[in-house]
Structure formats: C-alpha cells, structure tokens
Symmetry: C2
C-alpha cells in the first residue's frame, strides 16, 4: 500500500504530513517558513526521510504559481520568488511531486474526503488573511492562463461603507480581497475579525460582499456547491447572513442560498495527499 | 460520410442548416418562431425531411434550459415554457439530438472551427439583446447546477451613469445585462446601439461595464481567451476601448487585454453541427 507525503506550504509555516489515505494525514509537523527557501526545504526533506520513504508527494502552496516551471511566481518574500519548489523536492526525495495552489488543493481535499464527495461541479473559497478559491468542473480542477484569482473580483460597494475607507488590495483597492479579507476588516473597524461581536455592522458589510462573490461565482461557474472556509468564516453567524444577502441579490433567479456549504477542517493537507495519490494510485 | 443537422433556436427565429463539416453549414433556412411550438417544429421537421436524412441533429437554443428534461425551462413565451424540444425532434426525425444553450453551442463552434481552435480554456460571450456566455475548461463545456448565467454578474456602477437610470434587468436591475445589453443602451440614451456614434459617452460606460465582466471572468475561469460577439460588439471601436478599461482595472495583476478576441460570424450554428458530430462521429 503506497504511503503519501503532503506539504501545506504557506507564507508563515510549512505543515508536513504522511498518510495512506487522504482522509487521514498523520504525524503532522510544522516548520516556520524561513527567509531562505533552502533552509525550509532542508527541514522538510529531513522530515520525509525520517517518516518515509513516501511514494509520492503533494504540495499545496501559496501562490501565485507558475505551473510550467513548478515555482512560486511572485511574492513579497523575495528569496522565494521563482524558487523551483517542485524540482527541488523531486531531486532531494527522488519521488514524483505534484504542485497545486493551496486553494486548488483544498478543493481536491473537499472532493476526496470532505464536503464535496460525489460532487463534480463546485467551488471552494477561503476567506482569511487573503481570499482565494479553487473550482472543480466536470470532476476536474479549472486551470487556464494560470489559475483562478477569485480574491480579485471587482465588487459593488455597500452604501454603509465608512467614508474614507479605500480598500486594502495594493492592486485594486476595493476588489473582494481589498474589502472582505481579514486585513480589510481590521483596517476598517480597528479590530481583528475575531473580536468583532455578531451585532457589529462589520458583519452586514461582510455578508453583503461575500454574497456578491457567491453570486458572481454562480453566474460564471454554475457550481452545485460553494464551500466556504478560512478564518473569517469561523464566525458561525456569518454563513446564514451570507445566505440571506444572496437570496436578496439573486432575487429568485437561481436556487442559490442552499448551495453554500461550510468547509472541512483541513482540506488543503488532505488535498495534498490526494494529489500525491493521483501520481502513484 | 455522415450528414449533420443544426438548429439555432431563438425567440424570434429558428435557423436551420445541414452540413458534413461544422465549418460549413449549408442550405440555411429561417423560420419565424411561432407562438405554438408545434408549428415551428413542424416547419423544422419538414426542412430536415427534405434536406436530409441527417444522421444526428444539434440544437443551439435560447434558454435557460433544463438539460435533464431537454426542455426550455422558463420563458416569457409561455407556450414554449417546459416544451420538450429535444424529445419532440428525436421522435419526429428518428435521429439522436443534442441540446445546448445558444452561447454554449457558440463556444463549441469557436472551438471546432473559429477563434478558439486548439484552445482548451476560453470563454465566449455575446453582447446583444441579452448578454450570455459559455465557458470551455480543459476542452469541455462547463455545466453544473444548470449552465453559466454570465449576463447576471453584479457590477459596480460607472460614476457617469445618468441619474435616474435604473437598469433593465427585471430580476437584478443593474446587473451586467441590465446595464450593458442592447436594450439598456437604448433605454439609457434613447437610441439603439447602432445609431450611437463612436464619440458618444454611451461607449465609455459600455467599455467600463464589459471590462468589469472580462475581469470577473478572468478571476473565476482563468481563460486563455475571452471571445466577444453579438450585435453590440459589431461596433469596431468598442473592443479596443474594452482592452483599455481592462488594463486599467487589472492594474498589471493579470496579462489580460491581449486575451480579448473578436468572435466568428456564426459560431452557434457551427457549434450545433459540432454537437451533432459528437453524437455520430
């Protein structure tokens, strides 16, 4: 029975696991993301040499990614920019390595063993420090020019948007991420999302923006489910509010509020195991 | 060599053709769409009995469509609502019939013999009496809960939008279709699109809205091409303006303006032939 390796590669931490079944990542270990990528890779390689040998490795990485070169394309962490993460792991571990964005991997995890089992057409979105999504259509991930960049959808402003708030996205100011990711909540209201009580007007705006996102996703991708995860979605009162706003926005045109679904606890790591399994079934 | 039949089924006319090659629809004939669907079907059946026999038939239809039942789901033309167009043609002509939305068929036509040959990830959008789109990902049409409804994307209003203009969509007022389809231009400016000169402010707003649409499509679908067709796009000065607005909106984030591509002259009918060919290769 093959043993698979998984890495959830983030800007602040690398999470490693092994497992025979994507549903059960085991022996989890966390490494801080070092300034020098070679240092992080050395830690990761030592982990898999000790826990393995694994037959294949799946990597769910922060992005954007350049799939042709198997590299992180553009990041403010400059030593990581253009770092060939896929080839460096293949060479060090002598196993095939599959690389995906963290959100695409999370979509694969939801499909393999989470909220989208048996579902061939769905979207996974995480709302946290950033906003990003992965889409499965006809059972397969959507790729193209690069990968979806759902966090940068242009949005209509809520009339209650505080005067002077300019949005937090360095590229587009008031795109989805600039208006509704964790840092936007913090900048607009002066407190992090987890400290804003349910009755705070922050959540009216947040539900309005995330409902617009869901409606745009429905209009373009026609998903059977929209799975919502990430730190901001941990507020249990938020999902029902998004459903309400979405019903108002769709105005009966599409049967949408019922397709919103909460995410599983750790879909990206499970998706990384599923990616590894796709290489060595 | 098989002979294929094609129907482009619209709310005002049905266009029929036969052909052995999707690139060359032949013997085109037009029938007005009758109030009673049985009357239109009788005309169509007589056409194919005379021009055929065909081995398979592809239908590019106005929608929305209910694919499970092979029917037009909801239309103000009430006798057509829930009319089982696929089964009624199969029974009358004794050949397999494939049904798609007109815009999905147009996408297939662009893929088979138009602007998207060899492209596996692209979107086709028509901007005319309505706005609708079809998307191909990994070489295949995106379906899901139903089919994409790109015409209903929520949009940010242009600051130059005339006071009092409320948008023309009966469901969402100021969605994409409500702001940028032909009837919206006519209602806002008092003249149909084809009579508005290139220097009219109408086109500044139109380019702004269609650029937003293109950016939303890029963020969600990651297409390698966005193919733009339909009566409003017949204004040759419009595409370069959309490219300019899109460059401003994307702000360097994605290499987008160059992916905009003009549509072929009759992609839906070609796509209907390609659909028929997919049934009897």
């Amino acid at each position: 029975m093959p043993l698979y390796g998984a890495i959830e590669a983030g800007g602040t931490k690398f999470l490693c696991a092994v497992g025979a079944d994507p549903a059960r990542p085991e022996q989890l270990q966390r490494f801080d993301t070092a300034v020098n990528p070679l240092e992080t890779i050395a830690n990761v390689v030592a982990y898999f040499e000790k826990r393995g040998p694994v037959d294949a490795l799946g990597v769910a990485s922060f992005g954007p990614l350049d799939f042709e070169r198997g590299a992180i394309a553009r990041t403010p962490k400059l030593p990581w920019q253009d770092f060939p993460i896929r080839a460096s792991l293949e060479r060090a571990l002598h196993v095939p390595v599959a690389l995906e964005t963290d959100v695409n991997a999370a979509a694969l995890g939801e499909q393999a063993c989470g909220a989208a089992q048996g579902c061939t057409d769905f979207v996974y979105v995480t709302v946290g420090t950033g906003i990003g999504g992965g889409a499965i259509s006809g059972g397969r991930l959507i790729h193209g020019l690069m990968h979806p960049e759902m966090g940068h959808l242009p949005l209509r402003l809520h009339p209650g948007e505080p005067a002077g708030f300019r949005g937090q996205c360095p590229f587009h100011a008031t795109c989805l991420e600039g208006l509704a990711a964790g840092p936007a909540l913090h900048a607009r209201w002066g407190s992090p999302a987890e400290e804003l009580p349910p009755e705070h007007p922050a959540w009216t705006l947040e539900a309005f923006y995330l409902a617009q996102m869901c409606f745009s996703l429905a209009c373009t991708l026609s998903p059977r489910k929209i799975i919502l995860g990430g730190g901001v979605m941990a507020q249990a009162h938020l999902l029902p509010r998004i459903r309400e706003e979405l019903a108002a926005l769709a105005n009966g045109y599409l049967p949408l509020p019922e397709i919103l679904t909460p995410a599983s606890p750790a879909p990206a790591l499970q998706g990384a195991l599923a990616l590894a399994r796709s290489l060595v079934p």
